[in-house]
Amino acid sequence: MEKTNKSLKKTLIAFIIFLIVVGIWKPLALVYGIQRGGLYSLIGLPLALILGIVGILNLAHGDFLTLGLYIGYIFFNSWSIDPLISMAPLFFILFGLGMVIYSILIRRVLKAGHLNQLLLTFGISMIIIELIKIIWTTRPRSVYTSYASSSVTLGNMSIGMYEFIYPAMAIAVLVILQLFLKKTRLGQAASAVGQNPKGAEIVGINTNVVYLVVFSIAFGIIGVAASVMLPRTPVFPLSGNPYTLKSFALVAMAGLGNLNGILIGGITLGVAEAIVQSIPGYEGWSDVVFFGILIAVILLNAYRRPES
């Protein structure tokens, strides 16, 4: 336990030093990076939750995010409900969708092996994308809110204010999740299932109920992420798709079951991306850096812990 605490402290210190150095060198990149990294973390958390506890890699993760964006758009367009207010109904709509998807599809592949699980969620992803194209066409849509473009000028920098909601929400969701997992009966059962599903059954935990609830909560969080993104994100059939891979990258970087690591990793990757994009002429390299850092971290972890 001391060892993990020590390595956590080391990671945290390295993380803070990294942020300070970037802050002195490229303050704007730091701000952008924290904002964007916050969004990555917020979207990555539900994927981490499902992968860590249910053990399913949901390749349709980003497409459910797209679906959330469209539902938020409908709320705004048809009933002029502000995205930040429709966050609550969106949470419950996606929560319900999660229950349905789990009950009719995911539950059947829990013991089916990884390839079948990947094929299933990949299929769901394609169905969602094509359904969205049929229902809403490929025309991009957007939501205009007055507050989304507010900015503040510091010295010679102009900083968008709205995007600070991403890291704020990521932290809020993380804290609530940790409280749920540590303090509630169901949450403790979920942690137990995440660490050892067979052991959990042996102490009398109904793993199927745990899977259902965790899967649905994760979907609810996707709904929250969608409504938070909506004021600053164009809505089209592939809006959410790239986030599947980025979220998976974050989980791979943080390690299974390490929810705090999602926040640290997300912000690190966000800042690294922002630095690259701040160099004129090299904007297109940001994805290379994103996945380059990912590979480096995984290699480092593998090297540091050869026994596991």
Partner: protein, 235 residues
């Protein structure tokens, strides 16, 4: 208390348990001995619902267990200490123990009392209560797994090869502890390869080979039996 009638278990096309019948009464300690691959663990998995039997009956306190989900069987009063221990490695010893009671109707209001009981039987667990289960030694993990099983206030305790992978001095200590547990009146069902130690705590024993019962007698008679002495005690 537990009654198994004509049980057949198959993995795919391979039959592991053949026409197996056994009877365990309340307060009795029964052993199941046999070599590797005889079907001991499969039998336990069938009792706790991890494997579906092909045919046959498993009845616990007049209630059929066949087809029930594992957590329901456990909540009915059967605790199991699996060979692989199946602990929660990133939780502390105390958290592991508390989880043993938390989801069992009869145990969840007696957590503190149960903890006290487990700590008197295994004082080492009290010393290590704040340590992560994954960092314990093999012997300590075994004790934690038994402790976690006891936390459920079971009427019936199943132990799958408790001596496996332990050094000889620890094995003797462990069976000493099991004797103490037996005194509380709990029914115990034990599978073992270490027949010599196993015979010390059981009342009756069965010998299983290739999925079939080949012997069935009291522990005293088993210890005297020429077959057991030759095949299992190396006398």
């Amino acid at each position: 208390m537990l009654e198994i009638r004509n049980l057949n278990v198959k993995y795919g096309k391979i039959q592991v348990i053949w026409d197996f019948s056994i009877d365990i009464k309340s307060g009795e300690a029964v052993g199941l001995f046999g070599p590797n691959g005889a079907g001991k663990t499969t039998l336990i998995n069938a009792i706790i619902g991890l494997v579906k039997p092909e045919s046959g009956k498993i009845i616990f306190e007049n209630k059929s267990l066949v087809g029930l989900e594992t957590h329901k069987i456990i909540r009915a009063g059967i605790a199991v200490v699996p060979q692989e221990r199946e602990l929660f490695p990133f939780m502390t010893v105390e958290e592991n123990l508390r989880l043993g009671s938390a989801y069992i109707p009869v145990a969840k209001n007696r957590v503190e009392e149960n903890l006290e009981f487990v700590f008197t039987i295994f004082p080492i667990l009290k010393e290590r209560r704040k340590q992560k289960a994954g960092t314990l030694s093999g012997g300590q993990q075994r004790m934690l797994a038994i402790g976690r099983g006891l936390m459920a206030n079971p009427k019936f305790l199943i132990l799958d090869e408790p001596s496996l992978g332990l050094q000889p001095s620890l094995v003797i200590e462990l069976f000493q502890k099991l004797k103490e547990i037996k005194k509380t009146g709990m029914s115990i069902f034990l599978t073992e390869q270490n027949v010599k130690q196993g015979l010390k705590i059981i009342d009756r024993g069965y010998v299983i080979e290739n999925g079939r019962i080949v012997m069935d007698d009291s522990s005293i008679n088993l210890a005297k039996s020429e077959y057991i002495q030759k095949s299992y005690l190396g006398v």
